[in-house]
Subunit: 397 residues, 2 copies
Amino acid sequence: MSLYVQKFGGTSVGTLDRIQSVAKHIAASYRQGHKLVVVVSAMGQQTDELLEMALHISSHPPQREVDMLLTAGERISMSLLAIALNEHEVPTLSLTGSQSGILTDNTFGNARIRRILGDRIREALQLGKLVIVAGFQGMSEQEKEITTLGRGGSDLTAIALAHSLKADRCQIFKDVDGVCTADPRLVAKARVLTEMSWDTLSALTSFGSGIVHHRGVHLAKKYQIPLEIRSSFNFSTAGTLIGSHRKVEKAQVYALTHRQNLSWICIHACDFSGLAPVLNHLWTLGEHPLFIQQHGRASDQGLQLVLGSKALAGLESFCKKKWTQTRVEIFENNLACVSLIGDGFWLEPQLLESAHQTLALEPLLIDCKNNVINFLLKESDLEKSIQNLHQAFLEKP
Amino acid sequence: MSLYVQKFGGTSVGTLDRIQSVAKHIAASYRQGHKLVVVVSAMGQQTDELLEMALHISSHPPQREVDMLLTAGERISMSLLAIALNEHEVPTLSLTGSQSGILTDNTFGNARIRRILGDRIREALQLGKLVIVAGFQGMSEQEKEITTLGRGGSDLTAIALAHSLKADRCQIFKDVDGVCTADPRLVAKARVLTEMSWDTLSALTSFGSGIVHHRGVHLAKKYQIPLEIRSSFNFSTAGTLIGSHRKVEKAQVYALTHRQNLSWICIHACDFSGLAPVLNHLWTLGEHPLFIQQHGRASDQGLQLVLGSKALAGLESFCKKKWTQTRVEIFENNLACVSLIGDGFWLEPQLLESAHQTLALEPLLIDCKNNVINFLLKESDLEKSIQNLHQAFLEKP
């Protein structure tokens, strides 16, 4: 008897109809004899709506209170799904993060999972019950406070539970059919990949793909947890299976991903004391710059970054608090980065050259690793470039 | 330094504006040097909305899941109020029912409080913090499940906390100015009473007034907890103080209350085995019949009841499951009961007579106790009758 952890995101449980449709599928999986642990996100945009309410009252709401507030969302979706499964006569136990024994540190808003007790989950599975777990949340081990795991935390909950419970597979249900060779909105011939290595998924999510949250991917890769990424709108499609790959000594492009709305900036300062505080600030916001370069000495110091334009808000005021006479100069806005995700690129130097040639225009920057090639472009060149690259590397001649 | 427990109901925290207004008042109370524990209900109609979602999915949702679902409402209002108080720089700790140590039995949907630990509340108060507690909810002592206390449960949470913490006063904030001599929508000259005994409040809430939930009143009366019932829309009014009364040997009418939408019915059965199962069914629904009479023997047995018409739904099918050939006969719908609430009525027999004479029309039933006189009337006679009674007993000549 296999144990599956199934995760359903906000869109998958966005309406009462969606919850009923998902329940029907889960009930069918249960009847097939699988042991199931189901992790749910809050319905649709509820997390954002709750957060907006908090921000309406206060521009700096205490994070402890925000965490308590946001966890209400998963309580609601979890209970409703349990009610829907009861209609299918599936014996079901729903558990919050703390009831599941998901113990975290006390970093409100972005807590790290320390360990998972899971006693109540195991007991319920033993009794033949299906278990629903509220995603995105836990309880701090020492302080017994309710914490949240940060955005995308429900993916992390599912993958961490799959590890802790030694599940046979973790199935992430999405509003897309699986992991694609490129964004189907930009590339008409983009197709769903049937399989992929953890490394490839990790590279994809590092360079723009939001298919699974990168913290979850990190865990899955570390503990080699078999992942399945598939559709909750089209249960008959198989989706993408993430596992170990046959390693051959050959350069191969598996997929394209991209980021938009990037800026190339320079932080100027006279008494610049290193990039660590700036990066710390950006990472806390969830922004990991694509390009970082420090230059200059004495009175002409600077830090060049290519980063998401959203992260610019507040950056200058942050720097001004740290260093006198700081100034943030924007070299260029409306940039994009297209990434070739693959393997063994360094084995075939001509691969970079042919990729370079297929671009619509000369890139502003190139960054080439063994498993990823990044081209920084003007946003206006993105669509054509990604289509050309897809045709050259991912469509059959 | 006085310790006050303040309770704000759904209407009082119904919008973000209301939450901010309430926070402003609470902050002012805090600055006056009071120790404060604030109990909140869910925002506006949220409890009903969540319940409707559950009932959309299932006509009989499992009560454990419904309890978990509904508690999300108070989590949201509690967190938002804490965020609003933080804006006023009031050091605040918000706690759910289980975090507060409100331990209950395991009766989902209508749990009874067994005891209150309150350690985290006391610690926080000791540190000078204001404490917000999510009303309506607790955790079962043995099973560690999230439970709700039934409708009106937030009043109960506040009053039980006031007892457990030995508070100097429990303030129930409402959308009205206090306890009135009669319903102001029916009686233009109805006025707010400045004080009242627990007995009188208890009688009022037993015969129709919903000003405070009767379970809370029961506790307040039992432990003689000073209650203040006042407005959250008009903080300058003093409201009604509930405490012990000067007892004098004199008949006195303090206030009128009423119930509408009543039905007079008879349950016929051949093999009727007593009223206990029927009353048990009705009490579970929160319906306490005003009049109960059993009659007949052998093949002509019956149970006459005057009860809220809402409770009729499902009554016949309940009875048919218990006894063969049961039939529910409705003698009369659209009835109302007007109640004179007071004290020492039996000392002055003429009081009943003069009350009787002031009615608009002959009542269908009269029920007279030392502290309450009930008249059962046609609903169409209610308004005139209550106005006449108010003029005769509660307006100065």
